[in-house]
Amino acid sequence: MSNQTAVAAPPGSGPAEHRRGSPISGDWVRRNGVYLALIVLVILNIVITPHFVTTSNLRLQLIQTAPTLIVALGMAMVIGTGGIDLSVGSVMALAAAVMPLYLGYGTLTGVAIAMLCGAASGFLVGTLVSRVGLQPIVATLAILVGGRGLANVIGGQIKNLNDPGLRSLGLGSFLGVPYTVLVAAVMLLVVGFLVRRTTFGRGMEAIGGNRRAATLAGLPVNRILVTTYVVSGVLAAIAGILLAARSQASDPRTLGLLMELNAIAAVVIGGTPLTGGRIRVLGTLAGALLMQLITSTLVAHNIADSIAQMTQAVVIVGAVYVQLGRKTS
């Protein structure tokens, strides 16, 4: 019974050597699922949608993606810290509602004050989340509900914006690239830089990964959180301004309605985990493009609202499933 056998293990057979098999493994598909889905959808459109590959159409796709992308970038940062920002749609409306009140002092003033509105709302949320300790979803839910109400109270009925500055911002372009798209591109670069290269970006991911550890490591957790929500608020305000400029009107009732859900979907489809700790900027771009492309495909094919909504539902879940797969354990 008491046999004792000692066998030396074959040398150098550590688990590290069995790492990552072929490049196109399930893992690879997962990490790049959003790009694959995007490519599939583009190819599908090229095949089935008439007039898809025209400059004007591609340009339109970019223009219509821009607001979602800008909001989604802020959302990705917030989600990266382990939070969520349901307030973005209402902040867009709020910014757009406030802007016309100050356009009399010049386009820049109006735009700046609208952005300030976004910053203020972000500051409020950030403070509630970091210092008071509210759950992000609760704090931003309150702003989602109350912010739109406030926007309606302030803004009243839809207002035409007859401001040449805003007109060119909304409808003009630079070297053939619409300003809206330029702004979105700049925001993409800025957020990419913040996330990848700065202490702030590292701090956000650290807080999302393990807030307690980040606190113990002496990171200025509260300051980072407040900044993150402020950035998200400002980005939402910018999206609101762009949308208002493009439609030449400020409509607090409908502007940015359901944007929070679109943006969250874009972020999650883009591969940023909803649990925080990692921020994928390029993925978010792909996610936003994907969301836009779904909508435009459905409209282009004149799909009835009922079927359109159901299709959207299936594509969203499918795209996320491709990346996350089955529950592991």
């Binding site: 019974m1 008491s2 046999n3 004792q4 056998t5 000692a6 066998v7 030396a8 293990a9 040398p11 057979s13 550590g14 688990p15 590290a16 069995h18 790492r19 990552r20 098999g21 893992d27 290269r197 700065t198 202490t199 702030f200 590292r202 701090g203 991911e205 650290a206 999302g208 990964g209 393990n210 307690r212 550890a213 980040a214 606190t215 113990l216 490591a217 002496g218 990171l219 200025p220 700790g277 990692r278 354990s329």
Partner: protein, 526 residues
């Protein structure tokens, strides 16, 4: 099958309760278990050992239905079984205490003990009173005095560990599996646990026991299986093995253990005592936990902080670090008082804290080793908030080399490292801050002998360079071996101070278990 010569050897084939053969388990390219066979006999305690990442926990999870094996067979009482989830294993009578404490923090102790198996009344509803009563009895049996209606999350790790054990006890099990149950326990609780385990064994229960505290194995276990890199490298009777053999099986190499000869001569002599303390704490108080603690740590000194479960050791270091609301007459670092009770203030003063809960309070799992190391010094490796890769690389390379952290690259996710290496990453994180005072809370908890050795030597080295170290450990031998002085806490007050020739294992044990009379008198007086 023929690939392993071990296949032919079976320690207790005749009467094993739980048996696995040829189990292989792979995680996204990482082979955690390769053709492992293992069996537990009824009425015996079976040690399962191996270095960090050897696959012990994975094997246990395969045994209990948490993971499905890629290959291999599990037999329970001779019948082939397949557990598709943990409840399947529980239902047939396998009770498990997992390594990560698996309790629900926001539920009461009693609910945690009975979750899923609560006593019912005639209507089929939970009989809350009976449940609380039973839970109170069971925890009292285990020597834990808690209000069972209290939420588990507000108890310390050690108490939680005992509650997890209480839960495992209430399942009328034929097999009990315990994955590192003692890692956060104190001698007294360890003794309780051992007596419970022995009683179960005598009742014919088969027990699997995992621990990195090797001495415990000889005290408790009958048989042993050693894993290395996911393969069984040894299997036999405990008594047939000596410590040196065991370690060499585990690590695949020999290490010189217990021959630590720290050059602490200068410290125990009078002139070190004369040196001004780096850290000086007077009258440290925290609401209902700490009642006026005085401490001095001089340069180059390692002061041990001992105490029983809940004696307030962790609280003490957290209070010094500003993580716990507290007030003190003074906390001085190199003679300068820290004004504010806050983490940034403590960090600025040159204090670093290696927390006891590596997973919850230490690593940021989704960040790389590199980012984890520089986390506390982001300000120093950046300009205008923009991180300088060059500076980071330099710092990270230095520490990976200096602490011999085993990584495939600095970009590897820290969550992929073994426990010991994660601990070194955290030590590196704090060393980057060039601390003057290093507070170490259970620095060797849950890491294997090899890593323990390395961590210990890093600590020694630090002390030699003049750092002041305050170290908590539940392993009294380790404390005696490593420290120059030991401060013993009891219910939030200093109970005894041992140094020089007083600092022996038996004196420490005595001081831990029996609070001295004058201490009690103090308490009454106050």
């Amino acid at each position: 099958m023929p690939s392993s010569p071990l296949q032919t050897v079976d320690v207790s084939a005749a009467a094993s309760v739980l048996e696995v053969t040829g189990v292989t388990k792979q995680f996204a390219g990482i082979k955690a278990l390769t053709d492992v066979s293992f069996s537990v006999a009824p009425g015996s305690i079976h040690a399962l050992v191996g270095e960090n990442g050897a696959g012990k926990s994975t094997l246990i999870k395969v045994l209990t239905g948490v993971y499905q094996p890629d290959a291999g067979e599990i037999r329970y009482r001779g019948e082939p079984v397949s557990f598709s989830r943990p409840s399947d294993a529980q239902d047939v009578g396998i009770s498990t205490v997992y390594q990560e404490i698996s309790l629900v923090p926001l539920l009461s102790v009693a609910r945690n003990v009975f979750l899923g198996r609560e006593p019912r009344n005639r209507l089929g509803l939970i009989d809350v009173r009976a449940m609380n009563r039973d839970a109170q009895r069971i925890t009292a049996d285990l020597g834990i005095e808690v209000d069972v209606t209290q939420d588990v999350g507000r108890l310390g790790l050690g108490v939680q560990q005992m509650i997890a054990l209480a839960r495992a006890m209430t399942i009328n099990a034929r097999t009990v599996i315990m994955d590192e149950p003692t890692s956060s326990l104190e001698i007294r609780e360890v003794e309780t646990l051992f007596s419970v385990a022995r009683r179960l064994r005598d009742d014919g229960v088969g027990i699997v026991f995992v621990s990195h505290r090797l001495d415990e194995l000889w005290q408790l276990c009958d048989a042993i299986t050693i894993l290395r890199d996911g393969e069984v490298v040894h299997r036999g009777q405990m008594a047939d093995l000596d410590r040196r053999e065991l370690v060499s099986h585990m690590l695949g190499r020999e290490i010189a253990e217990g021959v630590r000869e720290r050059e602490s001569a200068s410290i125990s002599t009078g002139d070190a005592d004369a040196a001004a303390p780096v850290l000086s704490v007077r009258g440290l108080r925290a609401h209902r936990r700490l009642h006026g603690i005085d401490l001095d740590v001089r340069p180059g000194e390692i002061v041990g902080l001992a105490g029983l479960l809940g004696s307030g050791r962790s609280e003490t270091v957290k209070a010094i670090y500003g993580d716990l609301a507290s007030d003190a007459d003074t906390i001085d670092v190199e003679g300068t008082a820290i004004r504010r009770n806050s983490i940034p203030a403590a960090l600025d003063a040159g204090i670093a804290l290696l927390s006891e809960d590596r997973k919850a309070e230490g690593i940021i799992p989704d960040l790389s080793v590199r980012d984890n190391i520089v986390l506390a010094v982001l300000d120093q490796v950046s300009r205008w908030g923009v991180i300088s890769d060059a500076k980071v690389d330099e710092l990270v390379d230095t520490f990976i080399k200096r602490l011999r952290i085993k990584v495939s690259s600095p970009q590897q996710l820290v969550s992929e490292l073994s426990g010991g290496n994660q601990q070194k990453v955290l030590i590196a994180r704090w060393l980057c801050t060039k601390p003057k005072v290093f507070l170490l809370d259970e620095p060797t908890r849950g890491i294997d002998v090899g890593a323990k050795q390395e961590v210990a030597s890093v600590i020694d080295e630090l002390a030699e360079k003049g750092l002041a170290v305050l170290m908590i450990s539940s392993e009294t031998e380790e404390l005696v071996d490593t420290s120059d002085k030991v401060v013993v806490l009891h219910e939030g007050s200093v109970n005894d101070r041992l140094s020089g020739s007083d600092l022996t294992h038996s004196r420490l044990l005595a001081a831990l278990v029996a609070p001295t009379i004058h201490d009690l008198q103090d308490e009454v007086a106050s």
